[in-house]
Amino acid sequence: MAETQKLVIMVTHGPDEPELASIPFIMAGGALASDVEVVMGFQADACLLMKKGVAETVAAAGYTVLGELLPTIQELGGKLLVCSPCCQRRGLTEADLVDGAEIVAAGRFVAEITSATNTLTY
């Protein structure tokens, strides 16, 4: 029996870059469908994607609206980690974020990345 594989996906682009903000969610969906554990890390403007109500507004032409993918990613067990200083800079608290999103600092990101099978950065 193969060990569970784990993919960490670091996202740095926000609503102003809808295509680069969307692709990480597509990869997360593909990985979760393939029984790969997924941790998504949101840094810089990508933090804004985790703000309540924002994912529903991010729609790059030809891509699924983020607001449709996000619940499925959570339903399949994808973890959503949001960079603490990035949130502070933007005035975001955990209460502003979608349910299930967790604000974390560098140590947690490093722990997730170093225990992953692979990491993707967008």
Binding site: G29, G30, A33, Y63, T64, T72
Partner: protein
């Protein structure tokens, strides 16, 4: 990588569940297949409908990765019928 089936091939399969993922783009059809698999028994066949022409190749790769049996696909009117047997 994709296996082309005929309507006659599909007719002899006993399909346990039909999943209509037409109109959804990547990774929608794959996620629908994943969800549907958990609702059928090992050995059952699901039939996934997708209007995304990449789905049949994607499902073939996905089946190999997760351990299901990709049976192939048959073209319908503006979409593909993709057949997968739950194998685990």
């Amino acid at each position: 990588m994709s296996t082309v089936l005929t309507d006659a091939d599909v007719a002899v399969l006993s399909v346990a569940k039909v999943v209509d993922a037409r109109g959804t783009g990547c990774p929608g059809p794959l996620l629908e297949a994943k969800k549907a698999m958990s609702g059928v028994a090992v050995g059952d066949v699901i039939e996934l409908w997708s209007s995304d022409p990449q789905t049949k190749a994607d499902v073939a790769a996905w089946s190999g990765k997760v351990g299901h049996a990709f049976l192939g696909s048959v073209a319908a009117q503006g979409y593909d019928r993709v057949l997968i047997r739950r194998a685990k």
